[in-house]
């Protein structure tokens, strides 16, 4: 029977069928960070159990680590406590731990693929909803809570019920200045934040195949903002080339065998999906959010909605609440909105290609008066590579702050917050109420669009700066 990419990945990991669509699935990689790692590891210890396969678990502090230049674990004291817990629990149980300042440290979903810890064809979990990022390599990667994380540490498996399958086919070619981030926001705006609930989503089509691997990670990163736990892109020659030579990638003949297997994972031609969506990539513009859900996404030449035009009472009051929180007027054009902060970072957009795109806009320009702009590389390796090619100088000359790797202002669990009522253009993935700090007003955008906002002091179509 014809199978989808998802089916092939799922079938390859079934230890035992449990009935009614449930299976005991083997978990090949478990990423542990400072926030969700310690409680799960401590719970396993409290039950008197060993970690089932510590060689498949990898830990690094990211969420609660300060990104302040010259930081140490205790720069953000609460983060220092969590850092210590993760380090000690990892040492005790034989889990590899990548410490601050070490190559390998970084946002889990940046360091995992970067080191070859995450490979195509693997199952990957983490106590973090953006684990779906790793699906950009063709891994079956999904976020879990503490209990499931504990279960996986103790058994190297999870009891899972098979989701439905959706394919989103992106035909055509993205325009100049339009990125995977814009494509993702556009999709969420069009389909809604609940469209993917209960689904594993495969992204396919000409525009997806044209994305480089880092852009694929960005696209899959935002799958959970569509409501789905799983985002997937079939591995292809580009994926294989990207993985080759990474520290934990196989080598020699083992790599060749693996690569042949990875390339066989693509969905069969006649495979069926429970739902299919098609979009024209050429019609996607640089996209930003105006409200407090990622589905509140509009093209850069668009206007903020008018509650008076809402279809029903519920959406009217939702729009009113979002406009009130965001300090925006109905029907306002989004371009030209003055900004106070710019954040370039997060597991959505903090890889080398993201920083290059932002630096291309920053080069020869300067951050506008009254704007604070941060660049937070996704990992120690990204930071070093960016410095080696001169990006740090570009950003610093333009008045951006160049900071240490971590989640920083995306999750705001590290003492780094956008002040109340301040407006921030952010390359992260969530514009929820209070996400970047109580009262903070977040507009999601691509790295180039964020840099454009920094240098103009307003939400700006980056294509006009060319």
């Amino acid at each position: 029977m014809a199978r989808t990419l998802f089916d092939k990945l799922w079938d390859a990991h079934v230890v035992r069928e449990l009935g009614n669509g449930w299976a005991l699935l083997h978990i090949d990689r478990h990423l542990l960070h400072d926030l969700s790692g310690p409680p799960a590891m401590a719970e396993v210890a409290a039950r008197g159990l060993p970690l089932h396969n510590p060689e498949l678990d990898f830990a690094t502090p990211d969420h609660a680590a300060s990104s302040q230049p010259g930081r140490v674990p205790g720069t953000f004291p609460l983060g220092g406590r969590l850092h210590g817990a993760l380090r000690d629990l990892s040492a005790k149980s034989g889990v590899r731990f990548y410490d601050l300042g070490q190559p390998g440290q970084g946002i889990v979903h940046v360091m995992g693929p970067e080191l070859g810890i995450v490979l195509p064809g693997l199952t990957v979990i983490c106590g973090d909803s953006h684990t779906c990022t790793n699906g950009g390599l063709g891994a079956l990667a999904f976020g879990v809570g503490s209990s499931e994380s504990t279960h996986a540490l103790a058994t190297q498996t999870l009891r899972q019920q098979k989701p439905r399958r959706m394919r989103i086919r992106c035909d055509g070619v993205l325009g100049a200045g339009v990125t995977a981030k814009d494509l993702a926001l556009h999709l969420i705006g069009r389909l809604g934040a609940a469209a993917g609930v209960g689904y594993a989503i495969e992204f396919a089509g000409e525009a997806v195949r044209a994305l480089d691997v880092e852009a694929r990670l960005t696209l899959c990163n935002l799958t959970v903002e569509l409501g789905a736990r799983f985002g997937l892109i079939a591995p292809d020659a580009r994926t294989v080339d990207w993985v080759r030579g990474r520290p934990f990638a196989p080598t020699g003949a083992t790599f060749d065998d693996a690569a042949a297997y990875w390339l066989s994972l693509a969905s069969d031609d006649c495979a069926e999906y429970d739902r299919e969506e098609t979009i024209d990539a050429a019609a996607v513009a640089p996209t930003v959010t105006w409200g407090t859900s990622p589905e509140d996404a509009i093209a850069i030449d668009g206007t903020v909605p008018d509650p008076a035009q809402a279809a029903d009472d519920a959406s009217r009051s939702a729009i009113e609440a979002a406009l009130d929180y965001m300090g925006l007027a109905p029907r306002a054009t989004i371009a030209g909105t003055p900004v106070d902060w710019v954040f370039i970072g997060s597991c959505a957009n903090s890889r080398l290609t993201d920083l290059r795109a932002a630096a291309d806009v920053a080069r020869g320009r300067h951050v506008a008066d009254g704007v604070t702009a941060w660049v937070v590389p996704g990992s120690e390796n990204v930071k070093r590579a960016a410095e080696a090619e001169g990006l740090r100088e570009v950003f610093e000359a333009a008045g951006f702050q160049w900071r240490e790797p971590g989640c920083s202002m995306c999750v705001a669990a590290n003492g780094e917050q956008v002040p109340p009522q301040a407006r921030c253009v952010s390359t992260s993935n969530r514009n929820f109420v209070g996400r970047q700090g109580p009262g903070a007003r977040t507009h999601l955008a691509s790295p180039a669009m964020a840099a454009a906002a920094a240098v103009t002091g307003r939400i700006t179509d980056v294509r006009t700066l060319a």
């Binding site: 976020g143 519920a314 969530r430």
Partner: protein
């Protein structure tokens, strides 16, 4: 560790009828780093319950006397979307909530509920809205997991669907880890075969820093 079993619950149902209530709104991340899991109740829904000056907003349904310690929450689409933080479920439990009724849930939140003896019930939006109207003054509902039926304040009874494995686990407070470890020999056998089948999938110890 066994989970608190869930058989049935009766009481007020707080109507929080807005879509896409995310887990950041249910519990702020800083509360998770600062407090233990059984201390989160007072910090649930801060962004909705509190005004900018930190005082309670009397207009918020969760502050109304009829719904203090209400064991049931009514919500609109995609409740619990966003972050995987299980603290969102712990915060709800801290408020006394044992059951959430909504048309759809964030997938990870949905799973996390079952891990903690909280029952998420999916019903069509029209039905949740009708229930919300009936429950607005604090009239009680009963959710019976054993019989898979919900009794509205007006006495009308309707059934709801739930996966049989999940229902069984909730009714008996089953511990997944204990259950899975009974299959440990099978897991180890699978792993051994996998070393031969997918040698590339097993990281070489010490191969990389």
């Amino acid at each position: 560790m066994t989970m608190t079993p869930f058989t049935a619950v009766s009481g007020a149902a707080a109507p929080l009828m807005r879509a896409n209530v995310d887990t950041d709104v249910i519990i702020r991340i800083e509360r998770l780093t600062a407090f233990q899991r059984d201390q989160l109740g007072p910090y649930a829904f801060e962004a909705l319950r509190l005004r900018a000056d930190g005082s309670e907003d009397p207009a918020c349904v969760l502050n109304q006397p009829a719904f203090l310690r209400a064991p049931v929450l009514l919500a609109a689409e995609n409740f619990g979307c966003g972050s995987s933080r299980e603290g969102a479920v712990w915060a709800l439990m801290g408020l006394g909530i044992r059951c959430v009724i909504a048309p759809s849930f964030g997938d990870i939140f949905f799973n996390n509920c079952f891990q903690n003896g909280v029952l998420p019930v999916r019903l069509p939006i029209a039905q949740v809205e009708a229930l919300a109207a009936q429950c607005a003054s604090g009239a009680p509902v009963t959710v019976d997991l054993q019989a898979r039926i919900l009794t509205a304040p007006d006495g009308r009874v309707s059934s709801f669907d739930i996966d049989p494995l999940r229902r069984e686990a909730l009714l008996h407070g089953l511990d997944d880890i204990g259950l899975t470890l009974k299959d440990d020999a099978l897991i180890r056998e699978w792993q051994q075969a996998d070393h031969a089948r997918r040698p590339w999938a097993w990281p070489v110890q010490g191969a990389a820093g």
